[in-house]
């Protein structure tokens, strides 16, 4: 960390943040963005619900209405995607990832734990590998992500255990865990080669076609859990992230909240892996938050902007992915980085020193 601290002599320098009407406008725009994101997320959650309940009387009519909206969108954009329910499943996962990843990432990045997100993604890959074995044994396709989730959470607890026992967030054990779990994943996949028709490349690089109805529903449920958990523990997570020692002295259960944070990270990673891929999933935890931190004037604003930038990245990335027929993961991450670069140019200040690791 090497951020510049102004000296006392600079205390009277002019404020660079907008005041008066400019600040009010900015706040209105942010709230509008968050509101819009909330509406889009709610629509996506309702789609998942309707798709699930489409055989029930009322739901079937609503679901049919949804399909006709999709066809109308295809007609309007000249595409052939929105009429397919699988497309909506993927978009739902993407939109929800755009909300929950920056939400958890806001704490993770400023906790200097970005590498942990990366590690948990690779642990979850080992989970997918185990899931493939379980799927081939049980024949139930829904188990794949559930197994990945279980392995991801175990990995998160393992990472937490390691960091509690190494100096600060010592990165060597974490790096070993990162590559180790990936190595185990590749071994299991090779061993089980040909057992199932699961598209491994899709899980590596992200692919809209990887998303299954079960996977999308899981993401819907996990998103509700993550948003609720962050809303309920916002104060504690903020205190611990900003000043861990003072939080300890204030008798907060720091170990407990740290564990919650890594478990939430694992949950987000497993859900997001479907569209982003194991290799790119950590970017969604980090890049929108880095962009938000570049311009935010408070931590609350960092979270709002992080979610808005995350959403822009997902929607922009989907447009690129659908328009050019490219993988969704790379498209979303490249869009997110474009947003990040725009915030650097827009803020007119130097790149803020956010470390991925302490």
């Amino acid at each position: 960390m090497s951020g510049e601290t102004p000296t006392d002599g600079e205390r009277d320098r002019p404020r660079s943040d907008p005041v008066g009407p400019g600040r009010g406008l900015r706040r209105t725009a942010e709230l509008a963005g968050i509101g819009l994101t909330g509406v889009v997320a709610a629509v996506m959650l309702s789609f998942l619900l309707l798709y699930w309940a489409q055989d029930l009387p009322v739901a079937s009519e609503l679901y049919a209405a949804f399909r006709s909206i999709g066809r109308a969108m295809d007609a309007a954009f000249g595409t052939n995607v929105f009429r397919h329910p699988i497309m909506w499943q993927s978009m739902a996962v993407g939109v929800l990832v755009g909300v929950v990843a920056p939400l958890v990432g806001s704490f993770l990045v400023h906790r200097e734990m970005a590498l942990i997100g990366e590690t948990l993604a690779h642990t979850a890959f080992a989970g997918v590998a185990v899931g493939i074995l379980v799927t081939s044994a049980t024949g139930w396709s829904g188990s794949l992500l559930l197994v990945a989730l279980a392995v991801g959470i175990l990995g998160a607890l393992g990472v937490q255990w390691l960091t509690e026992r190494t100096d600060a967030y010592g990165d060597v054990p974490i790096a070993i865990m990162l590559s180790g779990s990936f190595a185990v994943g590749t071994l299991i996949i090779s061993y089980g080669d040909g057992l199932t028709g699961v598209n491994i490349q899709g899980y590596l690089f992200g692919n809209l076609a990887v998303v299954t109805p079960d996977g999308a529903r899981l993401m819907g449920a996990l998103s509700i859990v993550v948003v609720a958990a962050v809303a309920l523990t916002y104060k504690q997570l903020l205190f611990i992230t900003f000043d861990e020692q003072a939080a300890r002295v204030a008798q907060l259960n720091v170990t407990g909240y740290n564990t919650l944070l890594v478990v939430l990270t694992a949950v987000v990673v497993v859900g997001a892996m479907q569209v982003l891929g194991v290799i790119l999933v950590a970017a969604m935890l980090v890049v929108p938050v880095a962009a938000a931190s570049q311009v935010a004037r408070s931590f609350r604003e960092t979270m709002y902007l992080g979610v808005i930038f995350g959403q822009l990245s997902v929607i922009g990335g989907f447009a690129v992915s659908i328009g050019l027929g490219l993988p969704s993961g790379g498209s979303i991450v490249v869009t997110a980085i474009a947003v990040y670069l725009a915030t650097i140019l827009g803020s007119g200040s130097s790149v803020k020193a956010i470390s991925t690791h302490g």
Binding site: G3, T5, P6, R15, K235, F242, D243, R248, V249, S293
Partner: protein, 246 residues
Amino acid sequence: MTAIVDLDGVTFSYGDTVAVSDVSLTVEEGEFLGLVGPNGSGKTTLLHLMLGLHDPDEGSVELFGRPVEEFDDGGRIGYVSQKATSRGGAMPVTVRECVTMGRFAHAGRGRLSETDRAAVADAIETVGIGDLADRLVSELSGGQKQRAYIARALASDADLLALDEPTVGVDAESRDAFYALLDELNGDGITVILIEHDIGVVTDRANRIACINTELYHHGDTESFVESDALGEAYGATGQVVHHHH
């Protein structure tokens, strides 16, 4: 007089390195204790032991009359760590958000009340940074940052302020103003424990001094510390060690 902190025969090691050895001392209510000693003498470790951030290998620690491991009233302590004030992190947190953290121990899991918000606004005014409430802590000068952290402690209604070298990197004028504020708070009855490398500053401000270099070399009022040669002994790491048990 009530004991705020009570250490009895406390020893703590990092691996094979003994950082604090057999230290016994009591901090009474209303004291302004200066904790001095050479670099690496275990001052910060001793403060951490007092606050329950480390568990002693031997001996016992009491906070507000309770064994430190059972102490759960976090709002009574305002702690400003060395790391908190020296780091120039990029985390965008406003002064108001920082000071509001002082209320978290009171609010628990619930939402912040109007009382909480009023306490935050009061604390920010008391330390004289009302015009900076919406600025980012990372953009403040060293002296202003100190005040923000003290405001956080005040917002929590702390009875004890524990400060670890709070004026490193702060210019002389702001440092004097900061210590005048500490004097004022101490005058209002808040107990202060201060780690400070500048012996002159400590002997001007504190009414009690504890001088350590792994072991306790002196503990008593400031006059007796100035008259004694505890400082020379501690810094030279020779001479006698004070043992006072109670």
